[in-house]
């Protein structure tokens, strides 16, 4: 069986990286070989001072654009030395950086060739945020629209086949209830669907627990006027209530979302059991959707 790919995307700050980690951890615990790919050459899972919090339990590869470009060129020309010669040329590098779709195609080719090294495995791609996500997945089409012959067209066609094979490639759209909008997430899913990329159920991340019952909420709302010290508590429950409404909205729209609760304790110090439960739930739903 060939490797399966999950391509995570969503607005900045929606917790993509945490979810990519959770998905990788969950799948690994199920005995599946996993690689997490980061497209950000400044992977953000470390500390402010540059040291990682703790060794990540799953293997992570970070995209190095130059090496990825060299690998793609070498496979196109079938000769490494030509790739090296081209990369030595500043003219070539300038054109490769400025030409539309090239950086994106190089990134996709890198993702694809890593999958070929991981049969039966799961490749978790921590993708770029919404605005860039579709551009990346559209690049084979962009390139095919401009060049219909030549080796690069062949490479683009091969990548397009991967992206449009639901048994091998799926997108996972992540949002927080804070900036979730049914229309917007529908728009992104539609955009990806138009590219022929199959979607996994949407993920709603960092959902706050609603502790107050309606009577308590009503009281909290009123009591704040007399006691401003209640403001943070009301803020917290008002937020949880908004989140509950988003969940309801999703249910009404019959969107079968994957709900991940907010993990308190931040900064990579989430209690192990909560983290494990979230990893379990996410990987179960994702792997289930593939089969």
């Amino acid at each position: 069986m060939a490797a399966r790919f999950v391509y995570l995307t969503g607005k900045g700050g929606c917790g993509k990286t945490l979810l990519a980690e959770l998905l990788a951890e969950g799948a690994q615990r199920r005995g599946i070989p996993v690689l997490r790919l980061s497209l950000d050459d400044r992977d953000k899972t470390g500390n402010v001072d540059g040291k990682p919090h703790k060794p990540t339990p799953t293997r992570t590869l970070v995209l190095d654009r130059r090496t990825a470009l060299r690998d793609l060129l070498a496979s196109l020309f079938r000769l490494g030395f030509i790739a090296d010669r081209l990369l030595d040329s500043s003219s070539f590098r300038a054109v490769a950086e400025a030409a539309p779709g090239v950086t994106e195609l190089v990134t996709l080719a890198w993702i694809e060739q890593i999958g070929s090294r991981l049969p039966k495995g799961l490749v978790v791609v921590d993708g770029p945020s919404s605005g860039h996500a579709a551009a990346l997945l559209r690049s084979p089409q962009t390139v095919l629209g401009l060049a219909s012959s030549g080796a690069i067209a062949g490479a683009a066609r091969k990548l397009e086949q991967l992206l449009t094979d639901p048994r091998r490639f799926r997108s996972l759209v992540v949002s927080t209830p804070e900036d979730f909008s049914l229309n917007e997430s529908q728009l992104l899913s539609t955009e990806l669907a138009e590219l022929g990329v199959a979607a996994l159920p949407p993920v709603l991340n960092a959902v706050y627990p609603l502790h107050a019952n309606p009577a308590q909420l009503a009281w909290l709302q009123q009591a704040v006027d007399d006691d401003p010290a209640l403001l943070p508590a009301r803020w917290q429950q008002a937020r949880a209530e908004r989140h509950a409404r988003v969940l309801e909205q999703l249910e009404n729209a019959r969107r079968n979302a994957i709900v991940i609760p907010f993990l308190f304790g931040g900064n990579g110090q989430q209690p192990g059991n909560q983290r494990m439960a979230a990893a379990e739930r996410l990987s179960g739903r994702v792997l289930g959707a593939f089969s």
């Binding site: 607005k11 900045g12 700050g13 929606c14 950000d40 400044r42 953000k44 899972t45 470390g46 500390n47 402010v48 001072d49 919090h53 196109l76 020309f77 030509i82 010669r85 040329s89 500043s90 003219s91 070539f92 300038a94 054109v95 400025a98 030409a99 770029p128 945020s129 919404s130 860039h132 551009a135 401009l146 060049a147 219909s148 030549g150 080796a151 690069i152 067209a153 900036d179 502790h211 107050a212 019952n213 009577a215 308590q216 009281w219 007399d226 006691d227 401003p228 010290a229 209640l230 403001l231 943070p232 508590a233 009301r234 803020w235 917290q236 008002a238 304790g265 931040g266 900064n267 990579g268």
Partner: protein, 361 residues
Amino acid sequence: MFAGEGGVGKTTLAAATALKASLSGLRVAVMTIDPAPRLADALGLDRLGDEPQLVGEPDSGKTGSLHALRLDTSGTFDRMVDRLADDNTVAERIKANPVYQAVAASTGSSGPYMAFQRLHELAESKLWDLIVVDTPPALHAEELLSAPSRLAALLETRAVALLVDPARAAAGRGSRLARATATLLLGMVERVTGAALLGQVSSFVTDFARMMENMVERSRDVEMLLATPPSCFALVGRASVASANATLALRGELLDRGFAVAPIVANRLTPSATATGRSKINLSTDAPPGCAQLLERINAELGLLRQAEAEVTARIEDATSTAVLRVEDLVVEAGSLEDLALLGAELPDLDDLLAAAVRAE
């Protein structure tokens, strides 16, 4: 220049800062890239356009004013082609070229260039005392800030000559071996890209090369303007490890490039009760059952949130030796000018912000 990752509330803070400055008597233009509908609402503009629109009611008694606009990448690109092309035929030919269309449509690759072009137009008009920019969501700030030099690099390389007139470019180079290599390479490239693409790129570059000189010049002007006081970058992030890392990396890049940076804003912090003067809660007698336990539970969670945020902000302060500006979350999202003014009250005055900006030594 407001910079930071997506989703940190950068656009809202930029708008609040612009509004605050306009209320203090400045003529302000705020350029956002892709405002959420609610912000366009807050500014009282149904749909922000590419031209600055007056926000609020015109009032003859006021000296200050606030205008807002939205960067239209492909519109700015088309306008520039129209203005700079030798004649209409060339302009139309460029705009019809599939390579041009792909470049113009991809905000990822042309957004940074066009932000600089639009900024140049705004600065040149001399209509504004303050221009507030909500920077485009570039994958890295690097992409935005290196735009002028990348453009110049492209122009200076032989790639352009090679594409415009491959035979001459190859022939013009030193030894016979070098010439042979160049011809061979070009053949190789053509085999990979197909003849059609190379032709279209070549035609685009031929028409575009002269325009690019002008583009580079304008981008350099803007770069200079941004590096000259009192221009400065305001960095916005959330108080999470991932966001702080990204913000600090961005700060380093900006300082390396010679720009001034204001203290980092940690936005959307968990509200604290201490601001209201009291933290002790007295449960009134009309409280429904279970409220004491409820508050205990919520406050424990709030405590965890605040503690995690405090750790991160303290680390940022350690790393930068500068105090972080803490902005608590608005209970309601900014949906009106009043909300923006309320948020503005939490922010330092423009002069103080500019005075606190630092540069690399």
